[in-house]
Assembly symmetry: C5
Homo-oligomer: 168 residues x 5
């Protein structure tokens, strides 16, 4: 009915000074890897983020993302300008998916707000494998799109705005 | 059964001193733009808010609204009297909508309560495109109404009450 | 199966020293007014709260209740002994009802716990108009009962206990 | 398929030094009373808690439990070793049950964690009267069991561990 | 469609210096015991954690896990490097399961983030007994796998990263 999806920012951000953490899980790793790659390639090719300033760290599952993000942020030297938390949750037969997803969504937002470091919520919350593949730019769906690209754009935008002091 | 909807305040608030941030997302941008326009026009025409004191900022998605609102509030000089957070969430095929919406609703409330700066929750949480259009005053529905108008009224009322020291 | 509903306290509380804020919304105002009236009349007639010590303030919607309650509490001179937050949420066609209700329920509880001032959750969360009317003591239902009465009793009880230092 | 329910601790705790608050609501009072009695009798008979060191306080509804528990804890002299919050929520026709239950579950946990005083979640969240009766040890169900017994055991265990300094 | 489940870390972590708390509930104890055993055996056999440095503590139910974890962490001498919270929630006929599970998921995450000590969410949230048995490596299901193994791996990884100062 109208153009769906996210419209990129009109501003072209320069990411060449940014230091960015990509913190990802190891559940459903083939999909996570595609998302991480998409984010990483976008940071470098679209925003000139230096490859050596993109730090990759991993944890077991999505529930660990907020805690580890917080700890890496607190201990990072030099400081991270942004963190992209990447995970892939796929509904199973118990209620695990629901409780992990909810706590993780709240947790990552809390870390960003408490540290002042932008934390991008790159956690897919899918009902089946096909949805996950599609959102990682994999598989056969004509609608496939690697969300890691969007998360990278979001991270750079917020990281640059933070560097610029959130001027208004 | 009874008159539904919000009854405007009996008090006519003077917004001419207020500095207001409209922070909006870029998802479903045509609808967001209509909401932003509705808010902006209302601030100016109904409350005499000065156009140059209405600051527009944007972020990628609704999940980013609480964090960015907090940072803009903390760094704003002069201080914002109110923030209107505008986004349009439309249910898709995964559970993304639910987790984003919940965290964002809690997050925007938290920012207001922690900063003491009124933050209006202008995030539509719709099940389909038609509902979103209707609530942005677009489309063909006879019930269409631009909620941006209400959010502007809310922002001015709270902004003025804040200026007046929440006297009771 | 057993007597349902709330049993009033065995203690008769004296509200003659209390200063109480009734903070209400302007959505579905006819119902809100009935609830406010019920609360106000109960404060005066059952507990001898002085009419001039019952302060009425209003905000646009339920989402604004926690923030405004917090600000009025912080700035009140003399201090409020209790706050009754009154609103009427009725499920519509989007998910707005759910996200507003949840954030508001958590928010009002947070304000009470952080300020030490009792905040009564007087927000109806109904599925249709009939349920709202019934709970405001309006309409034709034989089960109709104005919940504002209960909220006033709750506010006085907690306000007096607070004055008495929560002795145990 | 396997023995369900809670297995009592292997340790026999001595509650003779403990000061315990039983904070209960007045909704569905016959059921609440049975739960309170079950807790009180268990404290005394199983753990030698002194009757005069079991303090009973009541509030109107479950939503008030976290706030009142916090205030009683903060003001108690001598300090409470544990608090048992008892309430009976039964699903009605609106969404009230859901929002009260959720906020209360989070609220009681928050009070415990912020004060360091164990707060037992003794709030039944039932779909009908029969479930409530059953869990208060009332009615005809062969599976009936008074949960107040379990809550008392939990309170003493945590209260003693707190007294012993959470040694590990 | 793709390899599901968690991929172990490529790094082999040395747990020989770690002090780890396994805090478990006593509900559905046969299943909990299997999970605790799985975790304990993994800590020792895969990571050389010393048996005497694995501390086992128990509480009544999952709702108590966050509070007790927080208290044990605060009072532990020497400090715990990680905590594994283990519980088994199985959906019953009331809404108890939902409210306990949600508060516990948020609570354990909060404890980790506030103390800086990794807290692993080892709480199964199952719809029936078979799911619980399967996830504890019990029963007949060909898909059975003891999740305690994964939780131990997670605890050691985070505990070692904490010891190493979250270097990036």
């Amino acid at each position: 009915m109208f153009a769906k999806g996210v419209t990129p920012s009109e501003t072209q951000y320069d990411g060449s000074n940014l230091r960015i953490l990509i913190l990802h899980t190891r559940w459903n790793l083939p999909v996570v890897k595609a998302l991480v790659d998409g984010a990483q390639r976008t940071l470098i090719s679209e925003f000139n983020v230096k490859a050596e300033k993109i730090i990759l760290k991993d944890v077991a599952g999505s529930y660990e993302l907020p805690f580890a993000a917080q700890e890496y942020i607190k201990h990072s030297i030099p400081k991270f300008d942004a963190v992209i938390c990447i995970g892939v949750l796929i509904k199973g037969s118990t209620m695990h998916f629901e409780y992990i997803a909810e706590a993780t969504a709240h947790g990552i937002m809390r870390v960003g707000m408490e540290t002042g470091t932008p934390c991008v919520f790159g956690v897919l919350t899918c009902l089946n494998d096909e949805q996950a593949l599609e959102r990682a730019g994999l598989g056969e769906s004509p609608a496939k799109h690697n969300h890691g690209i969007d998360w990278a754009r979001c991270a750079v935008e917020l990281g640059v705005k933070k560097r610029q002091g959130w001027s208004s």
